[in-house]
Amino acid sequence: MSLLRPTGDGLSVKRSLALAAPLAVLLAVIPQLVDAYMTQLLTYGLIFGIAALGFNLLLGYTGLLSFGHSAYFGLGAYTAAFMVKYLGVGSMELYILGGIAVTAVVTAAFGYVCVGYTRIFFGILTLALSQVLWTLAYKFFWVTGGTDGIRVAYGKMTLLAGLVDFTGPGSYQRFIGAYYYYTLVLFALCVVLMWVIVHSPFGKALQAIRDNETRARFLGIGVRKYRLIAFLISGLFAGLAGTLWVPLNGLVTPDIVYWPFSGEIVFMTVLGGFRTFSGPIIGAIVFNFLKTYAVASTAYWQAALGIVLVILVMALPAGIVGGLKQVAGAWRARGRGDGAP
């Protein structure tokens, strides 16, 4: 059961692939089986999955709880929206490049400031810095549209350097279908990239820092530098997710930079299980469905999510994936026990 556990050995590559391949096939055929709305929800889930995956490089692998990841998500989102509004750019690839560039610069600056601290000070510092960006998005309404936000219409946008556009009849269905696969490919690339990162010597060093900073330092690991690189990668994943989110949502508002959204990213990650590689992805997809149905079925969806979070922390602190692993582990141990003479 250690195939997705970050402490995998040489075998784990094959076993991870064996598990990931059927999942990839499943994700690829799902839009053929469900309606456009479902596909859209799943696209949101994959996008949040990218953000949570990046977030977990800090929380799960480096041991730093950021309460400001809304900032990097928002940077990616607002960069794309600005490119639409002020530069008239219509190419998704250019949004992504622009989003990554802007997110990289700001994340590097914020990270440089934050990585000197750990524990609650790190959390508060990331929170404070993210709220600086929120106030800018909120107050400079003549640039950002304030609480009205900036509209980004999918009809004016093209994928794959102009090869795919969405005009004419049925464009919405075509957009949802094409955008799902577009997101899925980027999502798969992100998963592979993150998998390689956490299994590389660099990823192992991060885990050493998480487990014992002093020892890691004595082993010659440049703790600050490693944390900064992890912070940068983490922010870039969130920024990419933000850029991808914009055309799907059609609108960017300051809410996406406000600190409760950072809380939601933490929520997703813990829901899936932050001690596992796949936990944040599962958590993001489940959270998105959970939130959508809660919002649709009750005016008190916040309370419903809050109750889920409290129960989760109380009863299932390892998250969905972590909990399943424990169950599978116990089941296997019992099976072995029965078979023993």
Partner: protein
């Protein structure tokens, strides 16, 4: 000049409220090492309960009775806090602090909606109290008497809180627990009781902040989330766990905010966060905090 005098009074008014919220946040962190994300919701709850009570009583009782009803919100919030600590927080003390933070985030979501459910989506006010006191002239402008009363309550609360923490037996127990929980426990202190009391006290003063602000500002949904962030800025500047820090931080934040609204409204909030970030960089434990 006259505007300056009124703005000065406004700053002290905001500082009183902000101090009450931040002091509770700081107290809970200092004793229990919990960063309580639901603290703003406690402040909002105090405001709602008081506004609701006064709204229902205003037609039937004399207005002097209304003043006695002001602290109802604070008492209600303290009771809620005394229930929450043993039920939701105590089971998690052995776990990493991330879990406590998450539970308070869940609590924030639940409380926000509970208030929506109980008090509806419309703003609630207790304006009758404010109107009954009228206003007085300040250098040619008029200023509500009630706001001065809030300033007085804030000052008295600060003094009482200080005396409570530094001059009473319970205060000694609080400080002992905050400095070394295990040693305090080994010396025979009932740490569990101290935790409940500290949490309820922190909730009480946050609720009091809400209760006394509501005659001059309506209780609205979301007020807690906004207040929490400002209280965070206050405790980061003053130092998590320090009462003096909360006082100085509240004054600083209020004056910067008032000046900001007057002179640089676009970046008023951004300046506050940047000050907080700068303080954290120079002194991670804040101006008065200890590591």
């Amino acid at each position: 000049m006259d505007i300056l005098a009124v703005q000065f009074l406004n700053s002290i008014f905001y500082a009183s409220i902000l101090f009450l919220i931040a002091a509770g946040l700081s107290l809970i962190y200092g004793v229990m090492r919990i960063v309580n994300l639901a603290h703003g919701a406690f402040y909002a709850l105090g405001a709602y309960v008081t506004a609701w009570t006064i709204g229902h009583a205003v037609a039937s009782v004399h207005f002097s009775i209304l003043f006695l009803l002001l602290p109802v919100g604070a008492v209600a919030v303290a009771a809620v806090g005394a229930l929450i600590e043993p039920l939701l927080l105590r089971p998690l003390y052995g776990r990493p602090e991330e879990y406590l933070l998450l539970v308070t985030f869940g609590l924030l979501l639940i409380l926000e909606d509970a208030m929506h459910f109980l008090f509806g989506g419309m703003p609630l006010t207790a304006g009758a109290i404010m109107d009954s006191l009228g206003s007085f002239p300040v250098l040619g402008l008029r200023y509500p008497v009630y706001n001065v009363l809030v300033i007085a309550i804030g000052a008295v609360a600060a003094a009482l809180l200080w005396a409570f923490v530094y001059r009473t037996r319970f205060g000694v127990m609080l400080r002992a627990t905050s400095q070394d929980r295990r040693m305090a426990s080994a010396l025979g202190l009932d740490v569990r009781r101290v935790y409940v009391q500290a949490f309820a006290l922190g909730c009480f003063i946050a609720g009091l902040g809400g209760a006394i602000v509501v005659p001059s500002q309506a209780a609205v949904l979301g007020m807690g989330i906004d207040a929490l962030i400002l209280a965070f800025v206050v405790v980061v500047i003053g130092g998590l766990g320090s009462l003096e820090g909360a006082l100085i931080g509240a004054l600083l934040v209020s004056f910067v905010r008032t000046a900001g609204i007057q002179f640089f409204p676009e970046i008023e909030l951004a300046v506050l966060y940047l000050i907080a970030a700068a303080v954290l960089l120079v002194r991670p434990t804040g101006m008065f905090g200890k590591a």
